[in-house]
Symmetry: C2
Subunit: 110 residues, 2 copies
DNA sequence: CTGCATCCTTCGGGATACTG
DNA sequence: CAGTATCCCGAAGGATGCAG
């Protein structure tokens, strides 16, 4: 019989990385803004708090999806970009966006 | 300036439907088992509890992704299948699975 | 076999204030 | 400007028992 668990279902692994309320939208934002500054993200990603933004960015960094460049300036400046590996998410983001649009269309009719 | 919120970012809509701990894996399981019986899913989706399974299936049904067919038999029998709309998730599931594999490969090297 | 109700726990997410 | 440190809450997730 087929079995679906964390080991045999890679879908789960992806969802862990992209899951939660902010990860996907952040990847998307950085992808379209690159390089993205911290304050810039804070302004463009509506509703996210500073602490959440910091936390989520760290987790994405730990997963190797984004890289963080610190400029030793006053005032401080930090830029985020997708890593090469993070860029491999592009097709997924694209299909997620497309499907989201289709889903909305469907909901509207109802 | 670009803005990323729930209205302008369809990715978010998709993640709401596919988010949480079980949705994606359930879609995947039903896709590969169709038609899938309740008990069958309970056995194949490792770690899920009965109540969670029921709840998640209902939500997927409400979103129009799966359909539920009840057989008036003793013992009871219920079958779940992806709806036509649910099937449009197939390419996403595929890319999620592929990326998950790549992610694992990368983690192994580290 | 399938499903609901109840109760409980965990943790993701958030508000606020403070720092270099 | 970018980030940390606390404290807090609600919802997601889970265990268990009962029912058709």
């Amino acid at each position: 019989m087929l079995v679906f668990d964390e080991k045999s279902c890679p879908v789960t692994a992806t969802m862990k990385v992209l899951g939660g309320k902010w990860k996907a939208i952040l990847i998307n934002a950085i992808y379209h803004t690159s390089p993205a500054r911290f304050g810039e993200l804070k302004r463009s990603v509506k509703g996210i708090t500073q602490s959440m933004l910091t936390q989520q960015l760290r987790e994405l960094e730990d997963d190797g999806l984004i890289s963080r460049k610190i400029y030793a300036e006053i005032p401080p400046k930090v830029e985020y970009t997708l890593t090469e590996f993070g860029l491999t998410l592009a097709p997924i983001m694209q299909s997620l966006a497309n499907w989201g649009l289709a889903y909305r269309m469907k909901k509207q009719k109802e």
